[in-house]
């Protein structure tokens, strides 16, 4: 990869980290709030089903994870396994797409 691409990946990881900092905070507060009177599927659905605000929030959360985690994994693969080159880039891209697909599936499941 070129220096420019490396730099863009770094910026993308830092930017997604900033989004995640906010998302994780909101998510944790929501967990504490949601379990105050016991946790039930009905209560979760009651909050998320048909709610576009929560849909947008969790979609942003999933996308930030799908950007952030593969870039971090890419560095881990290089430093721990010495894995470089095109095969590594395809692998982390596939990992990112898998995270996005699984995450979006879960988000849509509680929205519909």
């Amino acid at each position: 990869m070129s220096v420019r691409s490396d730099t863009r990946l770094w910026i993308a990881q830092r930017a997604s980290a900033a989004v995640l900092a906010l998302c994780v905070a909101v998510h944790l507060v929501t967990i504490v709030y949601a379990v105050r009177g016991g946790l039930s599927a009905a209560e979760i659905y009651g909050r998320t089903r048909g709610n576009v605000g929560w849909l947008a929030f969790y979609m942003a959360f999933v996308l930030a994870v799908a950007v952030h985690a593969p870039i971090g994994l890419r560095a881990v693969l290089t430093e721990w396994l010495g894995w470089r080159g095109r095969s590594r880039e395809w692998f982390v891209l596939a990992f990112g797409l898998l995270l996005a697909w699984m995450g979006m599936r879960a988000v849509l499941a509680v929205f519909r």
């Binding site: 990869m1 070129s2 220096v3 420019r4 490396d6 730099t7 863009r8 770094w10 910026i11 560095a75 290089t78 430093e79 721990w80």
Partner: protein, 237 residues
């Protein structure tokens, strides 16, 4: 005074530790100990030093597990129990005993664009740089590096990623990026960006912890990250 038990690395990469007993003296430095071994006990011991006063950056070794400049490291400070273990610097090929091959280390300074390139000639007037300007202060914070290799040996990222330029080369690049007279700005940022450059730093701060000149290469690398990001966002990279 009592004697010191000193284990010293002998041989190349596949060498082993050998033990020596060295008399203890007041204000004794680790370099004094090594010199005693070579002059009185075993003249075949290879080690490197020059100035003995913390200026040349030649005498760095691994002392009881940590990289240090040995000429300014007092035995009292590192061998409270009377034991010393001396090995060559980490992350560099061992030539013999305590001597490492530092070519990679200095080649990386070159790769990082570690030399000044001005735009003015001798016909031009002197550049006027205010010592209290933020850019000059940023350069001054890293300028006293003596190239001893302690930060490079302390850096885990270098051990994981041998292409990584390392703290000293990046610190040097930052002093030049911060130098308002330097005319190689974007080319230098290109040289220090990417997976082998400033973006590989994990901010462990081992370099900052170990630098005998109390420089913070971590802060310099953070400065490079900012400068590279700015250049990338302005599409200059």
């Amino acid at each position: 005074m009592s004697a010191l038990q000193v284990s010293v690395w002998r041989g190349g990469a596949d060498g082993a530790l050998r033990c020596y007993e060295v008399p203890r003296y007041p204000s004794q430095t680790v370099l004094d100990v090594v010199t005693h071994i070579q002059r009185k006990l075993d003249p075949t011991l290879a080690y490197r030093y020059a100035c003995r006063v913390g200026m040349c950056g030649s005498c760095a070794m691994t002392v009881n597990g940590a990289p240090r400049w040995t000429c300014r490291t007092h035995v009292d400070k590192v061998a409270a129990d009377g034991r010393l273990e001396l090995r060559p610097l980490r992350n560099l090929p061992v030539i013999r005993d305590l001597v490492t091959d530092m070519r990679t280390f200095f080649d990386k300074w070159e790769r990082a664009g570690g030399h000044f390139e001005g735009a003015s000639t001798k016909a031009d007037d002197f550049a006027r740089v205010r010592p209290d300007s933020p850019a000059r202060q940023a350069a001054d914070a890293g300028i006293e590096c003596i190239g001893c290799g302690v930060c490079y040996a302390a850096c885990d990222v270098v051990s994981w990623n041998p292409d990584y330029l390392g703290p000293a080369a990046l610190n040097r690049a930052w002093t030049l990026v911060s130098d308002v007279r330097d005319a190689k700005a974007v080319a230098r940022l290109r040289a220090v960006a990417g997976d082998a450059g400033c973006h590989a730093c994990h901010t462990h701060m081992s370099c900052t912890e170990r630098c005998p000149k109390h420089i913070s290469p971590t802060a310099s690398i953070a400065g490079l990250k900012r400068a590279v990001t700015k250049a990338a966002l302005e599409r200059k990279l």
